[in-house]
Amino acid sequence: MSYLDLSIREIHEALLNKKVSILDLTKEAISRAKKDTNNAFECILEKEALEKATKLNDTIIPKDNYFYGIPYVAKDNFSTKDIETTGGSNILVGYMPLFDATVIKYLNEAGAILIGKTTLDELAMGGTGTSGHKGKTFNPYDPSHTHMIGGSSCGSAAAVADGIVPFALGSDTGDSVRKPASNSALVGMKPTWGLISRYGLFPFAPSLDHVAYFTRNVEDSALLLNLLSKHDDNDETNSFKTRDDYFKELNSNVKGKKIAVIKEIRESITDKEMNKKFNESLEFLKNEGAIVEEVSMNKDLLTSIFPTYFVISCAEATSNNANLDGIKFGPNYGGKTYQEVMYNVRTKGFSGLIKRRFVIGSYSLMSENQHDLFLRAQKARHLIVDAFNEVFKKYDCIYLLAAPNVAPKFDEASDRLNNEYLIADNYLAFGNFGGYPSMTIPLGFKNGLPYGANITSKPYDEKSVFNLALNLEKFTHLADVSFLNYKDKEEK
């Protein structure tokens, strides 16, 4: 047990009380990072991190600046000044950004110490944690490396779950933080679209992209949102609403809170053990005074979430990555014409999976197909959001299992047309369609592998999400769980 394994607030207190120093904390994190066996890192920033830690080490720890001296990692699709940022793609190997993403800047200003950049599915596209240029990222809870951790924020999830750092930045376009969080017993938070600046996050599909993050408990999640959600003029979609003090307003009282369980999504999950645990959590919430009701939704809408997501995200992705053309970004392999230059670099630089997505996106935007594909997907998105908005008129939260099962095996093929896949495995994207605040929390373990539950609320109602999540920590006893301590936690 090290101070690194405590919550951010506890580490901060230990720093204030001089029980541990920033330098020791950073050294410990780097030493753990170097022992990483899960392929979590694109790069470990030992020199930069130690320099900063040394600089901060002799300064007075500012009280209530909870992130001062706290080591963290960021997914390698956040622009970091003078630090190679690849987006997990060969095409960007060697790219040195000239600027920090806004969230990196905020953390840097607060004194947090970036110790590494983490792996991801190539350009954040994919949910398996296997398609990045560094290969598969593994799940710390499965030392045999047969189960995935999921993606696309695989490296960030692995680093936090493995106890290397207490929090990590990720991005979530469909479920890229919330799904791996479910697979690795983490709190994965994706706040309302527009609450955290996306400036400096490599765009995948901007209308769905969110800066999201992993912590090991709900309180840390609220603390981090306070820091990250500061308004930023560089992102024109960033909200002008006054931000709540999510940390101060944290409470676990759910008396009278109305919680909806979507019947069709619940029924698409068939795992008995997980359903049993989920049902127990519902009973717990009822005992705590919450009003839990099953709500029915149009199943066609729910099975449309995945295809809708796929069309919109691929379409936007083709456009966002069109700058990677070998002229400004990506290696120039030469060519007689500009077309040849672009063709060469994009052929060599992207994996087959990415090219497939670009083709699908491009195809759905072509004028002869746009009506049947892209515009239809936009309409479907509206219908889906309208349906969920109806639920949020009556309920504070939607609460469900986050996934149909624990982390799948790498070689596990899923039947892509059954309900389990179409609904249970992909429904979390509704949170991106509506820009809803949505959080995955650890719920339990099955055969040593974790699974999570998801809480989603209406836009800007992060408070309800934190509130319910904090209450559920009393049920799960899984706050601060990591691979290093999960056996002790499970025994509780």
Partner: protein
């Protein structure tokens, strides 16, 4: 058979805002290549666009000047295509919801007013400038992101002359509204034209040809006239007009085929997700229109009414917005508006023409010009003295009152002094009063000549004449 031309124009105007359309880089593309560039202009991953308010304001002014319906919600779209001059791989433009729809401009053809319908105007961003060499191409990102306004006419122009007049009118609007310098020669105004011909009296459009590379307003007329002739000859000889893009060769004065249009490029438009729809308040729109600098027609009306300038002079002064501004400045210091106009046209302009300069290069304080005009108008100096003083004012940019003193340029209008001189002349020529009364008006001129000679022309001729007549009549 006679043919009627059907012409439509797409004009791009580079807007003279301080910064670019979506980035904070300065909008000074003409400076050292690749120095006026922000991260967004080079499409650095993760950068995001921010709409330039001033560019929106300027687009509103043009929409208003073109009598268009202004959309109070601003939407942007992405136009996706791969090209070496396109940094992001897409251009941010307004496809679905242009800021202005359905307007018109009025031009004068054969003494009659004609309205040319404007289909749409929208805002977008410029691309890189490319410099092609035999084995490589250089890119200048200074121009990438410069705000553009695109103005699209309906196919309502019927001749090269009409097209020229339309572009002249447009140029006048954008320059007077201070939206652009409207210079075609340096690309701040660019025109693409579409032209087809059809027999008079028919409704069906002929095959459309696009003509590009028009670097002056005169070229537009020449290129279109050439096309009408070329297409007519083709049809009369039984050959079809091919749908293609042609460019105008300035030296040969003819259009040359660039490429035959196959399928149009599919730009795969979709809404720009990084710019939420922007709701413009009525206040913002009204303010943009109210603060628009005075346009040509309003200025002409004011110059001919408030200043009571004659129409010809007013139009000469208004031929250059900066000259009109200079006149306005001068007019603050004098009430002699027409003499001021005359002076500017015959003196100021002639100096500028002689030195091949424009009014922008003319550094004389407007107040000094007004003082000089007043001196002349009140006959305190004569035109000869005026010229001498003007030369000095231009050279030293100092008040003419100083030079007037230096030159001793005061007209003698002291009646006693003038009377004594008249007396002197009459004493030496005692027959003059009798000659005068007998109808020999030469006598009057003789006296005037004598006293002018004596004073080297410094006598106020009006005062002197009055006194001479009185004395001769005694």
């Amino acid at each position: 058979m006679n043919f009627e031309a059907v012409i439509g124009l797409e004009t791009h105007i580079e807007t003279n805002t301080k910064s670019k359309m979506f980035s904070t880089a300065p909008n000074t593309a003409e400076l050292e290549p690749n120095t006026q560039v922000q991260l967004l202009d080079m499409a650095y991953p993760g950068t995001m666009p921010r709409v330039n308010k001033e560019a929106v304001r300027k687009a509103i002014r043009i929409a208003n000047a073109l009598h268009m319906t202004i959309d109070s919600t601003i939407y942007f779209d992405r136009k996706n295509y791969f090209y070496s001059d396109l940094p992001k791989g897409y251009q941010i433009t307004q496809q679905a919801r242009p800021i202005g729809r359905e307007g018109y401009v009025e031009i004068e053809v054969d003494g009659k007013k004609k309205r040319i319908g404007i289909e749409r105007i929208h805002m977008e961003e410029d691309t890189c400038k490319q410099l092609h060499f035999s084995s490589y191409t250089l890119l200048d990102y200074n121009r990438a992101g410069v705000p553009l306004i695109e103005i699209v006419t309906k196919p309502e122009l019927r001749s090269g002359e009409e097209a020229r007049k339309y572009v002249e009118k447009l140029r006048e609007i954008v320059t007077f509204a201070d939206v652009s310098d409207g210079k075609m020669e340096n690309g701040s105004m660019r025109c693409d034209t579409n032209i087809s011909i059809r027999p008079y009296g028919t409704e069906k459009f002929g095959t459309k040809v696009e003509v590009k590379n028009l670097n002056s307003i005169a070229d537009i007329e020449k290129a279109l006239d050439y096309e009408v002739k070329r297409q007519s000859e083709l049809l009369l000889s039984g050959q079809p007009v091919i749908q293609e893009t042609r460019r105008f060769d300035e030296t040969k004065k003819e259009t040359i085929s660039m490429r035959v249009k196959t399928d149009a490029v599919d730009y795969k438009y979709f809404t720009e997700p990084n710019i939420p729809p922007i709701q413009l308040s009525d206040e913002f729109i009204i303010d943009a229109i109210k603060t628009c600098p005075e346009l040509y027609d309003a200025k002409l009306a004011r110059f001919t009414s408030s200043y009571a300038l004659n129409d010809v002079d007013a139009k000469i002064i208004l031929s250059d917005r900066a000259l009109a501004d200079y006149y306005d400045e001068c007019a603050k210091f004098t009430k002699a508006y027409q003499p001021l106009g005359n002076f500017i046209i015959s003196n100021v302009l002639s100096i500028l023409n002689r030195e091949n300069k424009t009014i922008i290069d003319f550094k004389v304080e407007p107040k000094y010009i007004s003082e000089l005009v007043d001196l002349l108008d009140s006959k305190q100096i004569n035109s000869n003295q005026g010229k001498q003083i003007f030369d000095k004012v231009v050279k030293e940019n100092k008040s003419p009152l100083i030079f007037k003193k230096e030159l001793g340029a005061t007209l003698i209008n002291d009646e006693k002094l003038i009377l004594s001189m008249i007396d002197e002349v009459l004493k030496a020529n005692p027959s003059l009063p009798a000659d005068f009364k007998a109808g020999k008006t030469r006598a009057q001129g003789f006296v005037m000549g004598q006293i002018m000679k004596k004073t080297q022309g410094k006598v106020d001729p009006q005062v002197a004449n009055k006194l001479i007549v009185e004395e001769l009549n005694k």
